[in-house]
Point group: C2
Chain length 421, copies 2
């Protein structure tokens, strides 16, 4: 029996089953002698394999067809009346983690996809379009660089040979590790590309939590510019060198840090962060001869991000002259902003409001697999609050009712999209 899910039928999601699966996955990678350290499931590690095996068994319980591509990306397919993947809706995220991670980042999105599939199975429905649940390899990028590698490969942004040759922080080749844990699949990723992609994620920022908003409708994802700045001045005696004769690399760096904040404040949307700084020689009574710091600059608007970069470079040119120092700049990473699909975002907002939830159109500050999928299909993201914005930390937390609420919004959007072909 084929049912047009969007018309009238409204099955409800089993929140308890979702929370139980989150709990089970959160227990994989925990060192039980140090429970306060959270869990660690680095990509393609033994812990990642355990989590993958569990995910695949859950997919099979729901009678999804499991496919694995050559990068180890895992897909569970619930075929619709239209069985083609090219017209499918995919719900995905990742199950690898950072070191000493919280329970939600990534796992919440994948398991909510399973919860949607479960709801459809339990209701005995068959959607018009096909539903795919995806788990992408090495989103975190802690063991292997770059991050979001599985989804980048899936979207055609990196070749298989290059990706498999990546060396981990432990020296292992990614391809060897894929084979070792049994996840070097043979499914053709191009044949698995969906028409639409949704990703449900904890915000990892404080906005929804602090403003008491239920659902973030993510319209776009910031562009990122990472740079390392090295300033070379002249070391000298702090007591004997007049201020006017100094070439103080440390002071020049401090000016740079303050400038970046002013740039952010005046930009209308650029975020700038200096997270690391080093002075040499590093003595209380010696003027620094060398200062090094990193710049994290993000903006959802590419023009404004480029203007920010240019403004900072111009500042550094002036700084060289004004302080008598030498400045060098190295680009560490550069990604353009991603704009998500307006129609999908509107659908998410309408569904959430229909459930009486408060919403906020927002920008993702962090990178996600969705930004890679956006290269090949219509894409959007749904955020739920993160308590105090804490993430990449065992203390990462979202109340159960908010987790279930987010999954229900995802379900409604999915049913709506799946119903009409």
């Amino acid at each position: 029996m084929t049912v047009d899910i969007a018309d009238g039928v409204r099955p409800e999601l089993d929140g308890t089953a979702l929370l139980e699966q989150i709990e089970v996955l959160a227990g994989i990678g925990v060192d039980h002698s140090r429970p306060e350290a959270g869990r660690t499931r680095l990509a393609l590690s033994d812990q990642d394999r355990l989590a993958r095996d569990r995910l695949v068994s859950w997919m099979k319980e729901l009678e999804l067809e499991v496919r694995v591509d050559p990068m180890g990306n895992i897909f569970g397919i619930l075929a619709g009346e239209d069985a083609s993947c090219s017209n499918a809706l995919m719900i995905g995220s990742h199950i690898d983690t950072v070191i000493e991670a919280g329970p939600l980042d990534g796992a919440y999105g994948v398991l909510s996809g399973l919860a949607v599939a479960r709801t459809i199975r339990l209701a005995g429905l068959r959607p018009r379009r096909t539903l795919m649940v995806g788990a992408f390899t090495n989103e975190e990028g802690v063991r292997f660089h770059p991050d979001m590698m599985g989804s980048l490969f899936f979207a055609g942004g990196i070749g298989l040979e290059e990706a498999r040759a990546a060396r981990g922080t432990d020296g292992a080749a990614l391809g060897d590790e894929l084979r070792r844990i049994g996840y070097a699949g043979d499914a053709d990723p191009a044949a698995l590309r969906p028409a639409e992609y949704l990703e449900l994620h904890v915000e990892q920022g404080p906005v929804l939590d602090s403003e008491g908003i239920d659902i973030g409708v993510v319209e776009d994802l910031q562009g990122i510019s990472w740079k390392r700045i090295v300033i070379e001045g002249t070391a000298n005696h702090a007591g004997t060198t007049p201020i006017s004769m100094r070439h103080d690399a440390g002071f020049a760096a401090a000016r740079g840090i303050v400038f970046l904040r002013e740039l952010a404040r005046d930009s209308g949307g650029t975020r700038t962060t200096v997270g690391t700084v080093f002075f040499s020689p590093g003595a209380i009574n010696v003027i620094p001869s060398r200062a090094e710091f990193t710049v994290d600059m993000r903006d959802p608007d590419e023009d404004r991000l480029s203007r920010g970069e240019k403004g900072f470079m111009d500042f550094l040119d002036r700084l060289e002259g004004e302080e008598g120092v030498n400045v060098s700049v190295e680009t560490l990473a550069r990604f353009q902003p991603v704009r998500f699909d307006r129609g999908l975002a509107d659908a998410i907002e309408a569904v959430a409001k229909g459930r009486g939830l408060s919403t906020l159109r927002m920008t993702s500050g962090a990178g996600h697999d969705a930004q890679m999928l956006a290269r090949v299909c219509r894409t959007a993201m749904i955020f739920v609050p993160s308590r105090e914005g804490v993430s990449h930390n065992p203390a990462e937390f979202t109340p159960s009712e908010q987790l279930v609420q987010g999954a229900k919004v995802l379900l409604d959007v999915a049913l709506q999209r799946l119903g009409r072909s």
Copy 2:
């Protein structure tokens, strides 16, 4: 035969002998497999003992009476018609060094004192007043804290038991090391205190060199305030945390560094330096939760130095409110400024001008034994240029003719003072 040296007789100093002794002392403590590393004669080390033994032998060649006090301070005494130390002129400095030091810091002053004594001996003169040449223990303070310890003891600023109990960076007790190298003497320091003290030193700063001036007439010595500042904010995701919601300890520290420079610029004479800074957790994409930095603030004027400290504390109070951070301050060191004797400074200036040399009344930015001696007698210092202001570095350099020129000014002043009782 007693001669009033000040009247008519003007013996000249043997520059070659002075430079040869500087050369010999500069060779003690050199690692000949790494000549580029300069020399290292940490206080009371074997290398310091070799230098002390050489100094004592040179004093005895000049028939000076050698006395060593319980802190290992060495005095060579050339008795005048008035043999009392309480009416004597002392010329002194130190022969210990920092790690990988230049050849001049300290040694130049002690050996110029010997050069003055040698001139008097070679001319067969007997001054009215007594001349003392002093070498103080542990001026540098690299192995044992505090620095200027020998002169501090000599001036009554620290007790013998406390000083001898000081532990070196290698764990050795200062008293044990004094005995080990044979320099725990028994002369009563109080009985050796002179009426006047002169110290000739390389500037260790760039002023004389860059302005082409021959002789610095040091009128005073800066007060020093050293503090450690710890700022505690909140770590968070660089991409997801809005600028307005940040409590960025690193940005707050950068504001502090910039404020200190502005304070110096607007003060009319305060020097501020931030030589060390640390951010935690120290990741490119994490807002720093903690920043630590040191402050070196100096001023020859105690009121202005206190105002600078107060101004910075007020700024830190405002910073706490404006950035939502917690700031704590620890005082690491605090010395009041020292004003040298006006009459001695005038005499130095007049003598230098009499030799056709250019002079500059100036402030010593660095600490010297003279600042301790100023507690107990009339004191002044003479500076010669340091090329590019480099010191505490093997590259420390002053041209030979400037070294001899400075010693000749010292000689003239000394003869003038010694001649009249």
